[in-house]
């Protein structure tokens, strides 16, 4: 009985509901853990039941397929946590893909062309960021506009043809694996970026600012968070990483086309939301998002191996996304009800506690 009283005491002392539970519960009973558990469950189920899923090629193809989404999901998570959105990522990919092709065709080496394509991605991101952060336009409108704009430029640059014939050493790097393992080489830059973004979001002042902006950007502004600069940096990061994903995509398929990566923005945003990031901003963690990307990749891969049509795969992923959004609302409702019901019980001891402290 006395133990219970102390816990309730401590719970009442904290103003954040997240800190009201013991550490193990806070770590395990989160949305992120739920999505990771679901991902692991789906992987185990597929290994046991889907023919050829345990084959040697599965991991390689799976990681190659989701690599661009994994990459772009990193900056997208931060952008969505600030309450903004970047719909132009796939068009930026397309533009960097086409630029790489056009510059390569003009006689440049792949590294130089790739650097210029990254610079173009930076410019795309800076345009988005400037319009959203400094002009103050809604990011949904701005990035729908640039989605069409960047795609239009990309298709205009190459017209109806595709640039092919990239240097073999580079296309082999895009499709190759680390040594004899089945981990694609692209996972190396991804791992570096993932560490960087985890540090940026979860272990830096900048990251605290990102959450603050998402919760209330005026309050963030008045508490000293550089709101405009933070948003600009995030959109620039999104542009550069998208351009990098576009370069990878081009070299993997050895083909630079204006319509490369069309529709990827929806897959990225779906994975981010599935991973527990709130579309209203202020909530979400990167490990959940990465699990979300892997979950979508595993489901698609397993269903393809089963010979299920792509429409059915989309239905499954769509339902999962809707279920994940609904579950958030249901959980909020449940916990608010629960806390309301528990308030009378905990109010007595907490009312007494100052007196006790005084004695």
């Amino acid at each position: 009985m006395s133990a219970t009283t102390t816990t309730t005491d401590r719970a009442a002392g904290r103003s954040y509901p997240e800190y009201s539970a013991p550490l193990w519960r806070r770590l395990l009973l989160t949305r992120e853990s739920a999505i990771i558990a679901l991902t692991v469950a789906v992987i185990l189920y597929s290994l046991a039941n889907v023919p050829n899923f345990d084959g040697p090629l599965t991991l390689k193809f799976l990681l190659q397929d989701i690599a661009p989404i994994l990459l772009i999901a990193l900056p997208m998570t931060l952008v969505i946590i600030t309450g903004e959105i970047d719909l132009s990522v796939a068009s930026t990919m397309g533009l960097s893909s086409v630029l790489l092709g056009v510059l390569f065709e003009a006689g440049m080496s792949i590294p130089v062309a790739a650097l210029l394509a990254l610079a173009a991605g930076l410019a795309c991101g800076a345009l988005n960021g400037y319009l959203v952060a400094y002009v103050g336009l809604p990011s949904l409108a701005v990035t729908i506009g640039t989605l069409a704009l960047f795609r239009g430029i990309a298709e205009g640059l190459v017209g109806t043809k595709a640039v092919t014939g990239f240097t073999d050493t580079w296309t082999d790097r895009a499709t190759g694996t680390i040594g004899e393992s089945s981990i694609p080489l692209v996972m190396v830059p991804f791992a570096v970026l993932a560490v960087l973004f985890v540090w940026l979001l979860h272990f830096s002042t900048f990251g605290r600012g990102v959450y603050d902006i998402g919760l209330n950007d005026e309050a963030a502004h008045f508490s000293g968070v550089p709101v405009e600069r933070t948003k600009l940096i995030l959109f620039v990061l999104s542009g550069v990483v998208s351009a990098f994903a576009g370069i990878y995509f081009t070299l993997r398929f050895g083909s630079a086309r204006g319509d490369n990566a069309t529709g990827f923005e929806l897959q990225v945003i779906a994975a981010v939301l599935l991973g527990g990031v709130s579309i209203f901003g202020g909530r979400g963690r990167l490990h959940g998002v990465l699990a979300g990307v892997v979950l979508i990749g595993v489901i698609s891969s397993a269903l393809r191996l089963e010979g299920v049509t792509v429409n059915f795969t989309n239905i499954v992923i769509g339902l999962l996304l809707v279920a994940s959004v609904i579950s958030t609302s249901v959980l909020t409702w449940v916990s608010s009800r629960a806390s309301r019901m528990s308030t009378p019980a905990s109010s007595k001891p907490s009312a007494q506690s100052p007196a006790r402290a005084g004695v």
Partner: protein, 347 residues
């Protein structure tokens, strides 16, 4: 104390119901896919990978492939992306490699972009036959060609010249701007218009792209007629495009004034031929194409042919075929459909 336990229950319920929903879905497919997968283990399972699903042209070619597979006593499974893009197709080629199917029959969305994936599948022991739309010759074993590009380009020009009386403005309504086939045909038609004195009075004024989407093709047709008031004819070398263009023409003032021809399927074009919007159009039989591709793949899998020039194989009801240079097998001449013969066809 109520709060954490309730939340724990809710989370557990979420995870479990999510996992169960997924495993339930997977379970259903496990049963149906299990039989297909079991066939995949044996040596005689083929995968049919069209450019995209839900396209009547490829539905017909798959039906032909299934007919051939039944005659040969082998299993064939159709898979494919929703949109005709090479990156989506690569995922299905990868899947075929993972499954280790005996043969893959594919209509390529890009001549080079899917090559690496095809080569990986071939390394895994899969025979790869392209049909309808080819890849680079070095990354497949055989290409089953519906008709030579020259034959198709020539036939469409012949039809439109005949229908507009040999002079006037024409335009082309194509599929997507990157479509391999359509671009090759358009290039040849342009060259033929330049060089052939019979077509000296015919001017190609525009090429537009409907992306093989009905609505977009419909809108592009409307725009063509507005931008070119003197237009006398439209060539649409794609089945989706010609049907959408015919749909637009049949309800507009231009019906009967602007000629329309190209490549179409009889079932889609029947109403427009019957109401006089379209006089004649061309095509091969996609069902025969899928049928021939399946026989060719089976001959490769069995080792009867290797794809060398001069190899011959039997293709059931279609008779004997010979492999030509670069591993190409040609189905035959394009066929012209008009009001007299359209009733004989159902695809």
């Amino acid at each position: 104390m109520k709060l954490p336990s309730r939340r724990a229950t809710a989370f557990a319920a979420l995870v479990l119901s999510g996992a169960m929903a997924l495993s339930a879905c997977g379970g259903d497919d496990g049963d149906s896919g299990g039989s297909g997968g079991g066939g995949g283990g044996g040596g005689d399972s083929l995968t049919m990978l069209p450019k995209n699903l839900g396209n009547p042209y490829f539905d017909t070619s798959t039906a032909g492939a299934e007919e051939a597979a039944e005659e040969l006593g082998i299993s064939i499974e159709e898979v494919g992306p929703e949109q005709a893009s090479p990156d989506a197709q690569v995922q299905y080629i990868n899947t075929a490699a993972q499954q280790g199917v005996a043969g893959l029959i594919v209509s390529a969305n890009d001549p080079t972009a899917i090559c690496d994936a095809i080569n990986e599948a071939r390394d895994a022991g899969t025979k790869v036959v392209t049909f309808d739309s080819d890849t680079s010759p070095d990354c497949r074993d055989l290409f089953v060609n519906q008709a030579t590009a020259e034959g198709i380009a020539a036939k469409q020009l012949e039809l439109i010249a005949d229908q507009i009386g040999g002079s006037g403005e024409i335009a082309i309504l194509s599929a997507s701007a990157n479509a391999t086939n359509q671009n090759a045909w358009i290039e040849m038609m342009e060259a033929e218009l330049e060089s052939n004195p019979d077509y000296a009075d015919i001017e190609l004024v525009d090429i537009v792209y409907g992306d093989d989407e009905e609505q977009k093709s419909f809108d592009e047709t409307e725009a063509l007629l507005q931008n070119h008031p003197n237009l006398k004819g439209i060539i649409s070398p794609t089945t989706v495009g010609i049907a959408a263009a015919a749909d637009y023409l049949s309800t507009s003032d231009a019906k009967g004034k602007v000629a329309l021809t190209g490549l179409g399927t009889p079932n889609q074009m029947r109403p427009y031929v019957e109401n006089g919007t379209v006089e004649a159009f061309a095509l091969w039989n996609p069902g025969d194409l899928g049928y021939l591709a399946t026989y060719a793949t089976k001959a490769l899998v069995d080792g009867d042919i290797t794809g060398e020039e001069g190899d011959t194989f039997e293709a059931g009801k279609l008779g004997e075929f010979t492999v030509e240079a670069d591993g190409v097998v040609v189905l035959g001449e394009p066929f012209v459909f008009n009001a007299d013969n359209i009733g004989d066809f159902d695809f």
